[in-house]
């Protein structure tokens, strides 16, 4: 993490009456970063974003934007602009006037303004749309106008409150790519609020996972997915299998975890800080398992029984049962070698599960 954080959030709390919406949040956002706040609805992510915009005050703690304390700065004096979830396109103004709305104080001549608006329309790929009325626009177009209206002011930070939530799936995926390309092009810090983990993984440089007003983990998409630090994060991002286990240290350089279902797994010492006999959880993603017909000759494996299968086209999901574990284990594998119905696993068939100890994540016990 860079020292020169562009936005610093320090010990911030927010209460609505007796309800605590933000619980002691600390984080730094770097300049030019695409930063996402990810969480289920009611987790405090939108409140935090509205604090950055100046629409909500902090109950205590402070927020620095570009080194400046922001507590007493009203929204209209902040170097940040926001794209609203509803887009908030002014219905009484045409597209060009919407985009130029914030330029009043800049005292520009009409041709200068026109040129800036045209440049923006070019950027959002809607050239020639200046004279259109707001109610003649589709959802995707409104979303782009909202972006242009904010970006024309060259803000230091752009705040986006679930801007893709109202779009259908196909348009959303297209807009994700465009948004990412746009952010690289303009180089502005983006703070993006979403409840869609896939969207956050696709777009972000870093993601803060929030729950109940707290920040659970701030990390890169790979970091969150491959090395979650809590069970909550592990199960929120993607699917995860959890196994109860106990730490076994032999005094040597090697440690192992005795698990229910997967047997003993050797673990490098830096992954285990707990003493011998401490209860832990072991987590493994469904795609980290390999399904085999025959007993493997080496490595880590366990015998299992196929319980349920689901064919999803590009890949299949399976649930297998293990001795010593009550819940079935989710396994996901590509259908690279599946061409016919016969190639697939049948329910009730005996199978072998193989995995690599490097893929194992060790978490504290509940």
């Amino acid at each position: 993490m860079k020292n020169d954080a562009f936005i610093s959030i320090r010990n911030v709390n927010k209460y609505f009456g007796s309800f605590q919406a933000i619980d002691n949040v600390n984080m730094d956002i770097g300049e030019g970063e695409f930063f996402s706040l990810l969480g289920a609805s009611g987790c405090g992510k939108t409140t935090l974003l509205r604090m950055l915009a100046g629409f909500e005050s902090t109950s205590d703690g402070e927020i620095l934007i570009d080194g400046q304390p922001s507590a007493d700065v009203p929204p209209h004096h902040r170097p940040v602009n926001m794209v609203f979830q509803s887009y908030a396109i002014f219905p009484h103004l045409n597209v060009a006037d919407n985009i130029a709305y914030g330029l009043r104080k800049h005292k520009l001549s009409k041709p200068q303004k026109q040129e800036m608006v045209d440049e923006m329309l070019e950027l959002i790929k809607l050239p020639g749309y200046g004279k259109r009325k707001a109610n003649e626009l589709s959802g995707g177009q409104r979303q782009r106008i909202a972006l242009a209206r904010a970006l024309i002011l060259k803000p230091k930070v752009l705040l986006l409150d679930e801007p893709l939530g109202a779009l259908d799936k196909q348009l959303r995926e297209q807009m994700q790519l465009e948004l990412r390309a746009l952010q690289r092009q303009v180089g502005i810090t983006f703070v993006f609020v979403t409840h869609d983990q896939e969207e956050a993984l696709t777009l972000s440089d870093r993601i803060a996972v929030m729950s109940g007003g707290k920040v659970l983990q701030v990390d890169t998409p790979e970091g969150l997915y491959e090395a979650p630090t809590t069970r909550e994060v592990a199960s929120f991002i993607g699917n995860m299998n959890f196994f109860q286990g106990t730490v076994r240290r032999n005094g040597s350089s090697e440690a192992a975890i005795e698990t229910q279902g997967l047997g003993s797994i050797p673990i490098s010492l830096e992954k285990v800080t707990k003493p011998d006999g401490a209860p832990v959880q072991v987590a493994l993603r469904p795609e980290k398992f390999e399904l085999l017909e025959e007993e493997p000759t080496g490595g880590h494996f366990v015998s299992a029984k196929m319980d349920k299968t689901a064919y999803l086209g590009e890949r299949s999901h399976y649930y297998v049962t293990l001795d010593g574990k009550s819940e079935p284990v989710a396994v996901s594998s590509t259908n690279q070698f599946v061409a016919r119905d016969d190639d697939r696993w049948k329910e009730g068939e005996p199978v072998w599960l193989s995995w690599s100890p490097e893929a194992v994540v060790v978490l504290d016990a509940d």
């Binding site: 908030a88 002014f90 709305y101």
Partner: protein, 271 residues
């Protein structure tokens, strides 16, 4: 209306009894009123059938009467002031009701709307007692005060849906784009509620222009138009010109309210 045989959807299918009911409803409501313009063109000072013949004599007589012009001018003055003040108060009230968390909000709205259901005679007497206790002489100012009480609920009722119908994030977006509260009001809030403001002005003007009971208690020496009509009813020979004047008021009121209804709904359907 859809063609016969096409039963339409459940809600939109034609309903014969309902159509007949609507026609009867309109007849009962408006036929008595239509007698007024009809007799205002009748060439006789007696209001009775058969009609005698067509004349514009009563209208011409009105034109040349100074007292009518004075009363008309008084009514327009009062109406314009009442419309302006009640609409401004209505905008402020509607914005406060829709934008702020006010404890007991629904009770507050009920109290604002109360004059709609309290008989005008009660308000009229109450104000008259109050004003005479305070030693305020009756004049067009006291009539204006009375009309404000009558008109304010109409202004709020017209403006409230406009304010409720627009997304609070519009105002936040304006602030976010660098405008303070004052500029946000003039660049976003006001243009968005403007049709409601026009509707409220027209409606409150019409109500004040037509109002009789408050004016009856609170008028001093200067009569408003309805007061003038009331005064003329004592003279049988003046009755046809009263009918002519009433017809004009009826016509203008209808036009103004019709425009107010159209303007007030502008932009709400396609929002």
């Amino acid at each position: 209306m859809s063609a016969r045989g096409d039963t339409g959807t459940y809600i939109k299918r034609p309903n014969r009894p309902l159509q007949i009911y609507a026609v009867i409803f309109l007849i009962v409501l408006y036929v008595p009123v239509l007698f007024i313009p009809m007799f205002s063109f009748n060439d006789s000072i007696y209001v009775r059938f058969p009609l005698q013949g067509f004349t514009l004599q009563w209208y011409a007589e009105l034109w040349s009467r100074d007292a009518v012009w004075a009363a008309l001018f008084n009514s327009v003055k009062v109406g314009a002031v009442v419309a302006a003040i009640s609409t401004i108060l209505g905008v402020v009230a509607a914005r406060a009701i829709t934008r702020y968390r006010i404890p007991g909000k629904s009770a507050l709205v009920t109290f604002i709307m109360m004059p709609l259901v309290i008989p005008g005679i009660i308000f009229g007497v109450a104000l008259l007692v109050l004003l005479s206790r305070m030693g305020v002489p009756l004049s067009l100012y006291t009539v204006t005060l009375g009309h404000l009480i009558v008109c304010l609920p109409f202004a709020v009722a017209t403006l409230l849906p406009r304010f409720e119908g627009f997304d609070p994030s519009m105002e936040e977006a304006s602030a976010d784009l660098g405008e303070n509260g004052w500029w946000t009001f003039w660049r976003v809030t006001f243009p968005m509620v403007f049709p409601g403001v026009v509707a409220s002005l027209l409606l409150t003007f019409t109500i004040s222009f037509d109002e009789f009971i408050m004016a009856f208690f609170l008028t001093g020496t200067d009569a408003t138009l309805p007061m003038y009509i009331w005064g003329q009813l004592r003279f049988p020979q003046e009755f046809p010109s009263v009918l002519a004047l009433s017809s004009l008021i009826l016509f203008i009121s209808f036009i103004l309210v019709f425009i107010a209804q159209r303007v007030g709904r502008m932009g709400l359907e396609d929002a």
